[in-house]
Symmetry: C2
Subunit: 515 residues, 2 copies
């Protein structure tokens, strides 16, 4: 330890608090430049410019890291955490001090050597993954994953040494979540989803998605999805929509939220549900209090809460009969050749197709969670040391066969399909299903508190639902833990029952299933 | 002065040189991030995101400035400037030391207070200019220009105190140029251009540009101008083309050169000559030695040399009969409705219309230089103190009437039309006409050394000309002063005679003028 510098040592808590907030905002401005570099890389960068972009990102990332681990800021936060303000300040002051102090401690406990090595190995690992997946060659990936899992174990032990290592990693994406709790939820959820999938796929009555596979001209798709995104509330004066290989939502400032999607002329859902999903993320970003930009009160609560917003708009709104009662006339006007002989009901029913498949990112809403839960179990076993990296392919295939009834014919369609592990994103996967759980619980609560909600959706009035989410979810930033946030928003503890109920309620009838 | 730090004090010159180059490269990477932020602002930024973008630019600009004025770098450069290497090194070593040392001295002599105040006043000044121009209200602009000219006079005195103040400012854009030399050239050039303009406009034989004012569908224009840019050598794997209100070329890395243009469905030259011009800049940027990225050997020599490249491709290539012999079939294929009844000769002749007009950015190639020369004289008089800012509108109108024979009916179409002064760009205007002078002299030399050049252009073979420019102009970066560069490339001292000869040669015949 060292002696605090005199200015910080003698300042009163409120002055320190202002200085700490100013520093956090300045750091956020720099981090938003890094975010823009990433967006540009995925959407606009000339093919030959990749190496220079890596240098630009490296330079800005180093400045962001230096700012996040700035010693004077650390001293301010240490003093603030021990001050009266941390106990008697407003909710915003208390929450900001707690979050900023914890962020700082996690960052500063990581040796610079570990941060640099992880960054470098993950960049090389992702490049190795591209080749390994293309050639379905596990042997090209295995050595990188050995190193990456080892580095992540080291990171886990450094940043939150008191926690179970997997929980330490999970905390980066879902603050405060414990993997034992997640595992308990998933263990209850999995057999019931398997049951629903089997009931759907063995039923004689099943939706047919042929109507979605007609010709949907791309220029009309672009106008149509922009209109839909605007109508649900995405503000294009504060955002954009572009094209990328993998859809994402990226925020480069409090009024600069950028969505991307991909396009398939012969399958409308690729762009439409890509945009509904990303616009769901975007509505959350656009709903964060902009006066608290760069502070915990102006930042998203977690990846799980973020995913709850995207899934809510994509699945719970976008696949509903009410949504299509409003949207179908728009769609028929945009795509007269494809839809003039169809109905809203036909399209909406087609969107409820359940079809077990090998690839997570192509999965339907029901089977999706099975993909996630197996990844969670596998990565947790590797971090715990119960499963060797070398044994991942076999463990993957055996588990897949157990949950889906089919065995992946190749590693490219199995253990090598996702970029996450090669990019060092371990502890990330479970947030997808947590998002689905949060989304169903939030939607059920919204319906309870707004009896006219379904009518509103059927008339294209989305402002009430958005306002409800703004007040209950968006407005508190990350001042609360995700579970506490969802509990407060819905009036009950987080439970998987709403997700199960929603899936059975929506997918049962079109498959001839009563419950 | 302070004592050099031991590491720098005792290092040998070659070690110091490497360290100085590494520092310069790191600074260039950060500066390239600032450049990307500027590009994005002009092409992609959501309308509500301007204030945050200003914060991002401010944060990165401050880091770039800190890096450019880094004290350890200054010590290295001081020692290198006094070392043997500065006299006996390779041309690259000597030139790099000289340039980097001079850049550093200029930067470090500016008080931080002056840099910040200038940046702030120029941002506000540009906003005031937008309103002043829109409302044609000089009184809204005058107080800002008073402050800006005063700040620029102070900057001039600080950064190169031994020079005439205007020359100190000119040095930022055209290193080593002296305004007395520029004035002597312009004073010879002006009456001869006035004579040509009068001869053209009073002739009974004059080109008619009706063929260019037909309907040119925008989607076809986009494909067409991309094809033309590719064919002259612009490498889209190392660059892009986007849309902006004002066309520009921006470089975000050694393989990341971004052009913009605007579009007019009823006037083909807007996009085509916008793109030829910006692609000319782009070919220069793409031709700089990428191994010297961030060092003087990898950077453009001056704005004048840059402009020579854009003008050469836009005017000397793009308006030539040879270019249209090749390009017309492409154009007719792209725009069958507009051009099926036309000929290459008709289009090319239409491109040689001379029409004196009030607005510089809409001027034809001949009258353009008259716009520039009057701005040079006016801004030089203000800096010298011979002309008060308050008297600029009257001085503008009187001079315009003398050169063009017409008096601007409003300040919006007169003294308020350009953004430059309100943005603090004083000493910038003359580089446009210097570029035209360099371009004509370079093209004449290229024709002398490649007798088959005109035939090549008529066959769409542009690689020979581009290679000649790469070797003679692009390859030495800014290691030499612009005048020395053009002199070495062409084998003779820089002279306005080639520009005059080129203009008379190309514009005389279509106006029935012999000489």
């Amino acid at each position: 330890m060292h002696t605090p510098s005199p200015a910080i040592g003698s300042a009163d808590p409120r002055t320190l608090y202002q200085a700490a907030c100013d520093h956090a905002r300045r750091t956020a401005v720099l981090a938003s430049v890094e975010s823009l570099l990433g967006w540009d890389e995925q959407t606009k960068l000339p093919t030959a410019a990749g190496a220079h972009r890596a240098e630009q990102v490296g330079a800005v990332a180093a400045l962001v890291h230096a700012s996040r681990t700035d010693r004077a800021q650390g001293e301010r936060l240490e003093r603030l955490a021990e001050s009266e303000l941390a106990r008697t300040g407003t909710e915003e002051e208390q929450g900001s001090i707690r979050r900023l102090h914890r962020d700082y401690q996690k960052q500063v406990r990581l040796p610079a050597r570990l941060v640099e090595e992880t960054a470098r190995v993950c960049i090389d690992g992702q490049q190795a993954w591209v080749v390994a997946r293309r050639e379905s060659d596990w042997s090209r990936m295995a050595p990188w994953l050995e190193r990456i899992f080892a580095l992540k174990r080291e990171q886990a032990a450094c940043q939150l040494p008191a926690l179970d290592p997997y929980d330490s990693l999970l905390d980066d994406y879902e603050p405060g979540a414990l993997s034992s709790d997640v595992a308990a939820v998933f263990d209850r959820l999995r057999p019931k989803i398997v049951e629903l999938v089997q009931a759907c796929t063995s039923s004689a009555i099943r939706p047919d998605d042929a109507v979605l596979r007609r010709q949907y001209p791309l220029a009309a798709q672009e106008r149509f999805v922009r209109e839909v995104a605007s109508r649900i509330g995405f503000d294009f004066s504060r955002g954009r929509l572009d094209t990328s290989t993998h859809p994402f939502c990226s925020t480069a400032g409090p009024h600069d939220c950028r969505l991307t999607t991909r396009w398939d002329e012969n399958f409308l859902p690729t762009s439409l549900f890509g945009v509904l999903h990303e616009a769901g993320h975007g509505l959350y970003e656009q709903g964060l209090p902009d006066g608290a930009y760069g502070l915990p009160g102006g930042e998203a609560a977690s990846l799980g809460v973020h995913e709850s917003q995207s899934r809510l708009w994509e699945n719970l709104v976008g696949r509903s009969s009410e949504f299509w009662a409003w949207c179908f006339p728009l769609a028929r006007e945009a795509f007269p050749d494809a839809l003039s002989q169809s109905s809203a009901a036909e399209v909406q029913r087609a969107l409820l197709t359940v079809r077990p498949s090998l690839i997570r990112v192509e999965a339907d809403e029901v089977t999706y969670n099975l993909h996630i839960m197996m990844r969670f179990d596998l990565e947790r076993s590797v971090i715990r040391g119960d499963l060797a990296v070398a044994d991942l392919p076999e463990a993957w295939n055996a588990r897949f066969e157990r949950d889906f009834g089919i065995r992946p014919p190749s590693d490219a369609e199995g253990v090598l399909q996702d970029i996450h592990w090669s990019a060092g994103l371990i502890g990330y996967f479970p947030t997808y299903t947590m998002g689905n759980i949060f989304a169903a619980q939030l939607m059920a609560a919204a319906e309870r508190s707004m009896p006219g909600l379904r009518n509103d959706l059927a008339s294209g009035r989305f402002a009430g639902l958005l306002q409800w989410l703004r007040e209950r979810v968006h407005s508190s930033g990350r001042l609360r833990d995700p579970q506490a946030l969802v509990t407060a928003a819905t009036g009950e503890a987080v439970s998987e029952r709403w997700l199960l109920e929603s899936l059975w309620h929506r997918y049962g009838p079109p498959h001839g299933l009563a419950r």
